[in-house]
Symmetry: C2
């Protein structure tokens, strides 16, 4: 079995489940750390900052720094930066702190002007008709439309609430313009993760619980993939898909000997 030089790792369902620790996750990361093998966490979450996510992991005694967290917000910021090195760009942004902070950090101007260069959409639990109207108008005026991820639903205290993919569907239905999605399973976040870890797709493995986001993201980015049964996709569901992950394990504990 190939020894991988770097690890790209999903968070929810792989490292933890909501507020609950996942057995073996901490030991798995500890082993990577001891063996000096680089790893980054790749999450579709756009509302939290990388610092927030790192703190959350640290509180579970999982070794992580903000620089090892690639959120869909950081991936969007990285993508925009790669397109406009040095040039000032304006972004009409729907989203929360994590997205705004990531855009601010690369020096773009956040604006309410409907003649902006970009419309950037992430989950926003303070959404208003006025914000949505402005996004639609800016897109009709020619702004490039980016969205953090396709996630249809997210767990809330009461059940499954609308995810960013649903908010994005409102805007794309109204304008008849499809966005460029950045998060898993789309490739931009994976390219940003590779850039961050400084490796090529053949050198790393992508690990996650969700077939449609994590495993598909790895497959589309030409990476080997490892499915874990600690989250969304069960082993039985997995077997119904045409493109299979490279490996599958019950928990990350099983993988520790192969690091």
């Amino acid at each position: 079995m190939q020894k991988y030089l770097g690890y790209l790792i999903d968070l929810d369902g792989t490292m933890y489940r909501g507020n609950e620790e996942i057995d073996g996750a901490k030991e798995f990361i500890e082993k990577l750390y001891q063996e000096n093998i680089p790893y980054v966490f790749v999450t579709n979450n756009s509302t939290k900052t990388a610092e927030d996510v790192a703190k959350y992991l640290q509180d579970m005694q999982i070794r992580a720094s903000a620089s090892q967290i690639i959120t869909s917000s950081k991936a969007i910021a990285g993508y925009i930066q790669s397109k406009h090195s040095g040039r000032k760009v304006t972004c009409y942004c729907i989203g929360e702190e994590g997205l705004k902070r990531a855009l601010n950090e690369i020096g773009v101007e956040l604006t309410n002007d409907i003649n902006s260069d970009y419309v950037i959409v992430g989950l926003d639990r303070s959404i208003t008709y006025k914000k949505l109207e402005g996004a639609c108008l800016a897109i009709r005026n020619g702004a490039t439309f980016l969205s953090t991820n396709r996630d249809h639903a997210i767990p809330t205290e009461k059940g499954m609430g609308p995810g960013n993919g649903a908010i994005t569907a409102l805007i794309s239905t109204s304008t008849e313009v499809e966005p460029l999605f950045v998060g898993k399973p789309d490739s931009i976040i994976m390219q940003q993760a590779l850039k961050s870890i400084g490796m090529s797709s053949e050198q790393v493995i992508m690990i996650g619980d969700n077939y449609h986001t994590d495993i598909q993201a790895g497959i589309r980015a030409n990476m080997d993939t490892l499915h874990v049964e600690t989250g969304v996709t069960t082993k039985e569901q997995l077997l119904t898909f045409n493109d299979q992950p490279t490996y599958t394990v019950k928990t990350l504990k099983e993988w520790i000997p192969y690091i």
Copy 2:
């Protein structure tokens, strides 16, 4: 040419354009009135009450009473009433005054309970994440999902803002449940209009400017249709469609001799 016993008539683009009168509209309605030919106005608008719409027409000296206005809100209310005569039903409602009033008038209970019988969605310019989340949860819990119309975009002061079809797309994307749409071009509003005018589809003609809503609604409901060139769909666009309206005129003035 057949003499029609009743007229179903669109509003925006047919009777007026925003705040602007359309030449011949007033005279056309006056002729129907003089000839004692019943007519009702059929609008996808869900935010205004029938009384508001009648007042708006009266202010333009167009003869109209609230009982002659079938809004998509009144059509939804009529549909629910036809399904549950006498039985108490609960509705989780996203929408404005026109929708809430129409539902109140048939005695349904408007509720924030996510175990409601129905989720009813109309344009709501005070939309919040919490309202949308509740709608998604109620649908996941088994509520019947109804939506006033498919309209992707509506004219606002600044340009084209999200219409009710876009808000509905957010909820259907998140829940993976498609609603029953009530407004034009779907058939429920047309059935309610026929019920209101007390005629069958062969006895009436449907008039409107928008091919995709008005003319399609008439065609699907087996009515003869009259396209007017005073609104959305031009004569050139009209010719590109397979199913043609029965008649087409530049303005309603041309049709007065055929009443």
